[in-house]
Symmetry: D2
Subunit: 137 residues, 4 copies
């Protein structure tokens, strides 16, 4: 935990009620890339018969991973302008991994993408978001 970016991010997750609820922990970080794990919880289940994780959880993971790939540059979470998520297969019970990476860093607007997989590496969702880079201050 000597990496300052990782410490900043961990503390941001710990202070966020929603990100804590999502059970996020950082797997690795490098410039323009982030890899996180989200610990499965029973609240994620859309339908108890099928047991699949609800799409809003996958959307939150795409949003988080895309946004935080940009954190490696700007050191703050950026407001999401819009988000697109493609659902590739049902996410069954189990923790999930999300990898985010920057598509285009811009001084006003940036685009980043993310992939969400099971712990076995199966792709369950992917997508991209547009973020407001410019500081509103």
């Amino acid at each position: 935990m000597s990496d300052p970016i990782e410490s900043e991010l961990t503390s941001l997750i710990e202070n966020s009620p929603y990100l804590s609820w999502l059970g996020l922990e950082i797997v690795s970080i490098e410039l323009d890339k982030i890899h996180v794990r989200a610990r499965w919880r029973s609240d994620w289940v859309a339908n108890p018969t099928i047991g699949q994780t609800q799409g809003g959880i996958l959307a939150a993971l795409v949003d988080f991973a895309a946004d935080f790939s940009l954190f490696t540059r700007v050191r703050r979470p950026l407001p999401t302008i819009d988000l697109r998520i493609d659902y590739h297969r049902m996410a069954k019970k189990g923790s999930l991994l999300a990898e985010g990476s920057v598509v285009k860093y811009g001084s006003r607007i940036s685009v980043a993408e993310a992939r969400v997989t099971t712990e076995d590496g199966e792709l369950v969702a992917s997508g991209r978001g547009t973020f407001l880079t410019q500081d509103l201050g």
Copy 2:
């Protein structure tokens, strides 16, 4: 609660861990349209200093309202193929309303849209999803 579609939907929400966690209740239903309320909970908060609701919650509401506007035709939840969400303004602490409506009902693929507002009627997010109409059975 004499409306059978409303009873089916209410029971579907009650049996779904995630939809119950989201605190959904039906405000009104008519063909191709649904209006729901989601009860605010502190787990929704992205950042405790600002207090705003995390974007994944708004994505889940767009997904739910769009999908369930189609429920009025097909009487089952449809798999989401993809989703697009536009974030218009920060959603501060408070319950949210979501209205879903059908854009195009198709025998294989359908498109529906949704708007998420505060209880005061301020638009916080909107979007649309593509759903697999065809029964996989």
Copy 3:
């Protein structure tokens, strides 16, 4: 043609090689809404056996109609940040109508949507775009 917004738009279309090629003419304009017709040309055809209009033409119409619904407020074309198009049915040979309307006008970023129909009123595509409202000057 006494309406100054309509004159400005007509001259903008006439001066634009691409918009002229698209055969655009304004049907009606009001605040936050625009209705245009695009004259079919044989170059639009994706596949001569089927005769359908290529998706890029429909994307251009969604982009134009969404963007120019905002023109009624800002009196200049806005840069498109991103675009989403849903294709609902094949667009056969024939001119097309596009209606654009504002979803959210913002001082920095705006969202607008559009529907593309045949002259008989059949919905062939719809979508939305995000636009940079802020003047870059």
Copy 4:
């Protein structure tokens, strides 16, 4: 031109009024990937003062490159269900390159993405589309 996939694609482009108008030629093809060049033409220009290529052209290139990365598997163009395009910077006068690659090949629905660059390698647009894999026959 001994590669049969390349011959099929070249003949498909030559027979398509719109794809011919776009000036497409294949640079390279491999499984799940395609790289094409589109020859600039003055009809592409949105605004003669600025000289930039209109967004509908970039959308058509994203659609084509994404769709035809799937052609390497299915040997036919697939119907586009929906498309998302991010515009990263203005495309000035000049031919464009588009690279498409498969994100997820599915038996019913597939997702593919594309990047559009100038001949100098500057990223001007990127995006992804959802395609109907299933034969409608």
